[in-house]
Amino acid sequence: MSTFVQQVLNGLAWGSVYALIALGYTMVYGVLKLINFAHGEVYMMGAMAGYYVGRWAQKAELPMPLRLPVTLLGAMAACAVLGFLIERFAYRPLRQANRLSVLITAIGVSLLLQNGGQLVFGADPKYFPQVLSYSEVVNTGGVVLSNIQLVIMVTAVALMAALNLFVQKTRSGRAMRAVANDKAAAQLVGISVDRIISLTFVIGSVLAAAAGVLVGLSNPKVDPLMGIMPGLKAFVAAVLGGIGNIPGAMLGGRAARAGRDAGLGDRPLDLP
């Protein structure tokens, strides 16, 4: 039983990460009806950016409590720019093209980032710097909850709450929902659809960056191909939650991972 509880707990932590990635898929699908297959690579770039910012924070001897926030914010800012550039230069020129062309372009961007990443960062895995020292928050009856798991869950939930507030309450968030509903009608009320699409990519990429850093905390091995499997799984989670549906992606991510871990966690299978 304790194994089961532990696996569900692990699953929830990992699931939070998948949910963060899945949100990017689902938001972009909502406004563009595009599966952005490069999204897993944005997550990878988030982890990479976190690696460099975290190392800088270590070298600059920033106090420990500041390192994680600085690393998170640095990676999120880097991926905001990356997301903007991907949309602007890869997808926007194809706005009138058929959907298959855009899909193939997404796969192209994904490959570009995987291989470009190996070229620039090297193919060897890097050890993610320690920006949070490990401790156990709970350790009873064979069930362990680490502070890292707690930070992952809390950060993910906070980001999702912020996203929800943004989408439901702000002018831009409402415009985003309007664009997802009907682009032509959105234009007719004065919404610049291109700006909203840009914004969607930026927000999705920021969430993926956070996921990259959070994974770096608990699984401190980052490399340019690390985005492939989580990208696929988060895509599955997004579909599971009903692609285009933001709360669905949040739940889908957790359900997918928690279910997998609860079912398979104690079997001798080493799935990533």
Binding site: R171, R174, A175, R177, A178, A180, N181, D182, A184, A185, A186, Q187, L188, V189, G190, I191, S192, V193
Partner: protein, 244 residues
């Protein structure tokens, strides 16, 4: 005395790929009048409105808006900036934001406005005009009936405080009783707010009932133009659009 035209289309040509939708159409709309565009399916009525709104590009011709004593050429103005020029478009098939609430849909209509008090006053206005929308303000738009969605689409357009209202087939797919309500409202908006209205309609009888003037389009060209009374009395119009 005739009012000066507030909107002029001069020799407008529009195509969708190789399909020509408008082949050199000139239309004038004067301040404060209701102009109706009649014609059968595919005659180019909707394309004309879409051209004004910047949803389709012009191949040729000009669309000129008279604003503050000056001519503004709308050709090439992107669709999302047209509403800034005081033109609101109620698209064919309503196109309300399905997953947004009635209230949110109306607020989206005022997307570019920053005058909170004015927006609230206009919201009240729309709710007075369409009490049904007030009853359903927190419902998602997709749960409304066709007629209610049409009211919402009109209300959304009014929320931008337009000078010119473009309406595409407001009677399409709506219960006959509601068609009368909608057209009564069109007349009311025109008379009480002195709103200039361009309405595309297949239902020529109701459209000529409220309009001052009309144009009949046939395969992308103007076949007939005149006052609503003249058009309603015209033999060809009677035969083709009024059922004899």
């Amino acid at each position: 005395m005739e009012a000066a035209p507030i909107l002029r289309l001069e020799n407008v040509r529009v195509s969708y790929g190789a399909v020509r939708a408008l082949c050199g159409v000139s239309v004038e709309v004067r301040e404060g009048e209701i102009v109706t565009l009649l014609g059968s399916n595919g005659a180019g009525k909707s394309s004309l409105l879409r051209a004004i709104s910047g949803l389709v590009p012009l191949l040729e011709g000009r669309i000129v808006l008279r604003r503050d004593g000056q001519d503004v050429d709308l050709r090439g103005v992107p669709a999302h900036q047209i509403v800034r020029h005081g033109i609101a478009h109620v698209p064919e098939g309503r196109r309300v934001f399905a997953s947004l609430s009635v209230l949110e849909n109306l607020e989206m209509g005022a997307f570019l406005r920053r005058d909170g008090a004015g927006i609230r006053a206009d919201l009240d206005d729309v709710f007075t005009l369409f009490p049904r929308l007030a009853e359903r303000r927190s419902q998602r738009a997709e749960t409304l009936s066709g007629g209610e969605q049409q009211m919402l689409a009109i209300g959304r357009a009014l929320m931008s405080r337009p000078r010119i209202l473009l309406m595409d087939e407001p009677s399409l797919g709506i219960a006959p009783l509601l068609v009368k309500t909608i057209f009564d409202t069109i007349r009311e908006i025109n008379v009480e707010r002195r709103m200039t209205i361009v309405v595309v309609e297949q239902n020529a009888r109701v459209a000529l009932g409220v309009a001052h003037r009309g144009y009949v389009l046939e395969v992308g060209e103007i076949a007939l133009a005149g006052s609503a009374a003249d058009l309603a009395g015209n033999d060809e119009v009677r035969k083709a659009y009024l059922g004899g």
